[in-house]
Assembly symmetry: C2
Homo-oligomer: 474 residues x 2
């Protein structure tokens, strides 16, 4: 490795490597022979080619913000951890083409900031944006709170550069909006979590920077009313509605209880809260808020919306978002939350919440259902919250967790839903792939894996069930 | 075939088969042993499996509207033409999920109409919409005039069902907005033009139906001014700007000269015309037109826009679009137009038009440059127009056509552009694939083809250069 990338770009003392071998939530850890920090695509190519020739496993790592054990190596201690942070150049930003080319190690927040500086928007936004890297976002097809309007990461990518398992470089860095010349290769790599190759650079889509924002919280009595309110807003503001989040009363109160600087904008926390955000290119935030108020008046008189708070200052806007952004931290203080990143067809959200609540009440009466999620995308983070002392008393925690999760995943699957909406598979959900995915689909995925990484050196044990099984026995 | 799909669904007399063996422009034709009309996915599966087992070539066909020879078989006369028109059911339309599941043989206009009836929009719109089928749109990742706002066909698809070359059925009909569970398979099939399998059904994204429309034509002096005006409109109306077309003076006048019921909305045809269309969910068309007028006032006073016509009635709107929609027909009457479906990064459009014009003037002085295209997507249909009598005198037409095309493609390629933006490859552009695509990219495509269709029975001779060569010699 030192020969390939230079002494300064290889790390192998345990204390230096340690932060790279455990995830930020301290739930997943692994070992590595060394951590390698390539500086160029050519170095990545050399590292992968060498590893492939010598059957050495490679685990790519971005900002190490995976919640699915996708960013730390396995426990062999024989593998190479390929950390991308030294490839962090913004190669080109072209406002007249609404495009930007970046290296994979660029931190998402830096990309957002560079776009804003050029009066443009790169709309991908999510909790980890201060440390996650665009390469990881692409590898996991990351979601977040702007998906309703701008799509997942996949939809924001014009082109990528990939180094394949054998070291071949595919330079697919195009900035074209249309290009129907042959198969679409990039989407196979986007979301493949580093198991088919390493994304080393990308050309991103930029959008006009919005100059007006309106943010509101709506209180509704039922999930069904929340979905109805959302559909009305989508119809009224198809170009401006960027965020449509759902928060249960339990989650809202947890956030108020444990997170710093939160305050309840309602007199009484509603059963369900819908967080709405509009963004417009022109006009003022005040006029946009007025339009939102007008659009909500029908839902008010219909009784669909019972209470509403519309931010009238940037401070109030921040207060509203703080409640939403604090949930992960607050949930950690509240108890042991078993989180599920499910998605169902949007109109089935009320059914999912009802059936999941009944199932928890029947089988896990100690669990409080806590719900927060991206309602507009049909994506809920459905959390079974146990008091810390209760969870401490559970004997086989892993077994309870698995059984409870599958109870919920079964309900989602029955509705044509998924057990993994935006967080990916990593190592955590590999077993669910075997349970919930169609056999024909798994077979096709394995054929692609076999084609592109026949020696299974790229991020082994992730995403695909049988490859993982082979690794465990091999 | 009769055993597999029933007597009524097989056709083999030459006179019956004839309309299926030649394309609508009478430029490409082929032969087939029979035309088969499957009624179910299972029948498609049986046909493909049998053909695969017996090494019989299969040519899938939708509405037969390809302009690249992609919808007619080759000349062997030993192949099966698989026509999808009998699989034309709308399986489900769910307004609360903004989704719609259709069989591949549904005509695009029928899908648009069904969506509108449910107060929704399926935004794919293109010249052939009255006869093209959604299966063909998916196979070619069709573009059209709404791509700027809603994306290509690829971006409008939530899930697909595919029958693979060996008869395996992959049911990927999901209606989820987020699903990060494993590799994205659907995008590999979308745009693969039937060479990797046959798309039999799809779940489509729907959008709120717009209730206000504003349409305008802007007269500008230069292509650069056109691009500037477009960028300003994009910044002002990111959610409403659905169409942004460019028309050269030559094309505008041809349309006026030859197409029925066209009239010039300008006193004098501008050097370049930008066709603008805004659509909004709410408000009136009048107020949207007022907003457009306001937004244009700056460009007027800057001198960027020299003349403008904003439609103030549906009649005027239709008059404006008629000029645009008549170009194919009018060009046919004007002369022999050699059409090129190029795309470049949007900001390079002025450079492309300039360099292409200089190249034509130098090497083909008899050709008049005629330009019409989707400026917002960087996609131009660049036409070298020859007088009929001149073209009749050209001896080696094919050689002139090839040389002229490559002259233009070279200019696009130099700018990071493509020789095929939205029409696909078909059989017409296979040779360009070998010339203009990166070798690593072609190699990857061939590996996928080899994996999914090792016997090369699926639409052979299309898309990939070397497979086509093998077919020619085999």
């Amino acid at each position: 490795m030192r020969t390939l990338v230079g002494n300064a770009n290889v790390m192998d003392t345990p204390s230096d490597m340690e932060p790279h071998l455990i995830d930020w939530r301290k739930r997943h850890s692994g070992k590595a022979a060394c951590v390698v920090f390539p500086r160029t695509t050519e170095q990545v190519s050399k590292v992968l080619a060498w590893c492939n020739d010598n059957a050495v496993k490679v685990f790519p790592q971005g900002g190490n913000t995976s919640v699915c054990g996708g960013s730390v190596p396995d426990n062999s201690g024989q593998s190479v951890l390929l950390n991308m942070r030294k490839m962090n150049r913004i190669v080109e930003l072209n406002p007249r083409n609404n495009s930007m080319t970046v290296e994979a190690g660029c931190v998402l927040a830096d990309i957002q900031a560079a776009a804003l500086e050029a009066d443009r928007l790169f709309p991908l936004t999510l909790g980890a944006e201060g440390s996650c890297q665009i390469g990881g976002n692409i590898a996991t097809n990351a979601g977040g709170t702007n998906v309703l309007r701008f799509g997942n990461t996949r939809d924001l990518i014009l082109g990528i550069e990939v180094v394949l398992a054998d070291g071949r470089i595919w330079n697919g860095l195009r900035s074209l909006r249309k290009n129907n010349s042959g198969y679409d290769l990039k989407n196979l790599f986007i979301g493949s979590e580093g198991t088919l190759g390493v994304v080393t650079a990308a050309t991103l889509k930029l959008f006009p920077r919005p100059h007006a924002v309106a943010t509101a919280m709506l209180g509704v009595a039922t999930v069904s009313a929340a979905v109805d309110a959302g559909l009305k807003l989508q119809a009224a503001f198809p170009g401006e509605l960027v965020g449509l989040e759902l928060i249960s009363q339990s989650e809202f109160d947890i956030s108020l209880r444990h997170a710093a600087n939160t305050r309840n904008p309602f007199q009484k926390t509603p059963s369900w809260t819908v967080l709405v955000e509009l963004a417009a290119a022109t006009g003022t935030s005040e006029s946009l808020a007025d339009k939102l108020t007008d659009a909500l008046s029908d839902s008010f008189s219909d009784g669909v919306v019972q209470d509403a708070v519309i931010a009238s200052s940037e401070q109030q806007r921040e207060d509203i978002w703080r409640i939403r952004h604090s949930v992960t931290e607050a949930n950690g203080r509240e108890g042991m939350g078993l989180t599920h990143d499910i998605a169902v067809p949007t109109y089935r959200i009320p059914d999912f919440v009802e059936l999941a609540g009944l199932a928890l009440a029947e089988h896990y009466p100690a669990a409080v259902p806590v719900v927060v999620g991206h309602m507009g995308d049909g994506n809920l983070h459905y959390i079974a919250m146990f008091k810390h002392e209760y969870w401490a008393s559970v004997e086989d925690k892993a077994a309870v967790q698995l059984k409870l999760s599958h109870l919920l995943y079964d309900i989602a699957a029955e509705m044509g839903g998924t057990f993994s909406a935006e967080h990916g598979i990593g190592s955590l959900h590999v077993s669910e792939m075997g349970v919930y995915k169609d056999a024909a689909e798994i077979a096709l995925m394995q054929e692609f894996k076999q084609l592109l990484d026949p020696r299974d050196t790229m991020n082994p044990g992730r995403v695909l069930p049988e490859v993982a099984a082979a690794l465990r026995t091999g």
